[in-house]
């Protein structure tokens, strides 16, 4: 037996028009498929292959073709699935030794998800039938005699209120757990240091403006300060070759400005 046909996909409004005159927005928007798992499951059903032994190369190729056909190339979720399929395909091609007990089928996780998804689709079929049945019956919508229905009494104890208090407290404390106080950058301070150094001499080096034991935030601040001052034409940065020391030269134009 193969995958049961999803009622949804065969529902009239979910099917692509037979003619080729649909546009891309229709496809992407309406989504013939409810996601990459849906598409994958449909391919497995259409190709009539064994879920426990998916010919991954073939299915992967079909998947990519369908993505292209349906202009789903920009849909992150489909791209992610395509990448996953390609990875599995690659893993399947790795040589493995005879009787290798430790070998784990790279398809296992995907199969588990597909089965879970398929189960859910069965429920969807049931909900769809029941929902359609109910949709075809009207309930009363006219309330001639009884206006605003009076309220039923409340079942509410003090204990319940206090339990709620406890819940609130636990929720409120949560943000405290993430309290991280990042060290703010001090670009202004770094600018002052650079200017002070350049006031003394026309040319300096990276090490002159950043201590050897500087913390990351100080290094970043200095870097931003240098870039900022360069932008303002107060100095000129040069590096003669990659990884060599950076030269900082006072810019005369900047002084004049």
């Amino acid at each position: 037996m193969v995958v049961a046909g999803g009622g949804l996909m065969t529902a009239p409004q979910a099917v692509l028009p037979a003619s080729g005159d649909y546009d891309a927005t229709f496809i992407v928007d309406v989504g013939t498929y409810n996601g990459p798992l849906d598409l994958l499951l449909t391919l497995i059903r259409d190709e009539r292959v064994d879920i426990d032994d998916i010919p991954i190369a073939r299915i992967c190729e079909q998947f990519l073709r369908k993505m292209h056909e349906l202009a789903l190339n920009d849909a992150a979720e489909y791209l992610e699935m395509a990448a996953r399929l390609l990875r599995i395909k690659a893993l399947m091609l790795l040589p493995r030794h005879e009787g290798d007990e430790a070998w784990e089928d790279p398809r296992a996780e995907l199969v588990r998800r597909l089965l879970e998804y398929q189960q859910m689709r069965e429920v969807v079929d049931l909900l769809e039938r029941r929902g359609e049945d109910r949709r075809n019956r009207f309930a009363r919508s006219w309330f001639p005699t009884i206006t605003a229905p009076p309220q039923a009494p409340l079942a509410l104890s003090l204990a319940e209120l206090l339990v709620a208090v406890d819940r609130v407290l636990r929720n409120v404390r949560q943000p405290g757990l993430h309290e991280v106080v990042p060290r703010a950058l001090d670009v202004d301070g770094a600018i002052a240091i650079v200017r002070a150094v350049l006031a003394l001499r026309a040319q300096a080096r990276w090490r002159d403006v950043v201590r050897a034991d500087a913390e990351p935030w100080e290094v970043l601040s200095a870097l931003l300060a240098l870039l900022e001052l360069a932008r303002r034409n107060e100095l000129k940065l040069t590096q003669h070759q990659p990884f060599s020391d950076v030269e900082i030269r006072r810019e005369l134009a900047g002084e004049a400005a």
Binding site: W142, P150, V165, L169, V180
Partner: protein
């Protein structure tokens, strides 16, 4: 009943308003006005003779099925006696916050709970458990809520001071709210996102 009468019954039941005879006639294009009248008469007869809890009446510019007056009282009484209603967890939490922090505004409650509380506040107001007790200072002078005498009655309390003291709550909530007091725009957002760098600012 004949099939036209059954169709009319279904339509009268489902409609949100009394249906004029002309509109009833559009239900079945094959039916003559006389047939519609005959079917309505059959339906009325059926309800009357057979002994039903409802009847067919012509009023308000159309036809409608109404419950018989003799049952109205029992139905209203039953609604009062209906099973006691339970508050949802979310409503309880909101009520707890208001009880301990009153007067308090909607935005502040939302901030503590991490979700918008508009609908819940409305139902608590309708139930008479909370009421607007003041207006806040800030922007737009927000409504501030507090508990009602009915709230006290519900818990058999004489006054609010009789509420068990939850020092933790008042203490925990106050500074937290004060720190986050800038009342961020994301109050209504789903996850109570950690406040980044609040103190670094």
């Amino acid at each position: 009943m004949n099939s036209l009468a059954k169709l009319l019954e279904a339509a009268l039941f489902a409609s949100a308003r009394p249906i004029p005879t002309d509109d009833l006639a559009t239900l079945d294009s094959d039916a003559s006005p006389a047939a519609v009248h005959a079917a309505l008469e059959e339906l009325r007869e059926h309800y009357n003779v057979d002994g039903h809890g409802v009847e067919l009446v012509e009023q308000g510019g159309g036809w409608q099925i109404l419950t018989r007056p003799e049952y109205t009282e029992a139905i209203e009484r039953a609604q009062l006696a209906a099973r006691p209603h339970r508050l949802s967890g979310a409503a309880l939490e909101t009520l707890a916050i208001i009880a301990y922090r009153q007067p308090i505004g909607r935005a502040e409650i939302a901030e503590i709970r991490g979700v918008d509380v508009g609908a819940i506040l409305k139902s608590l107001l309708e139930r008479g458990l909370v009421e607007v007790t003041a207006r806040g200072e800030g922007l737009g002078r927000p409504l501030l809520y507090g508990t009602t005498p009915l709230f006290l009655e519900q818990f058999a309390l004489r006054h609010l001071e009789e509420l068990p003291r939850v020092d933790e709550l008042t203490i925990a909530l106050r500074p937290q709210a004060a720190a986050a007091g800038a009342s961020h725009l994301n109050a209504a957002e789903e996850a109570a996102a950690p406040e980044p760098a609040a103190s670094a600012a």
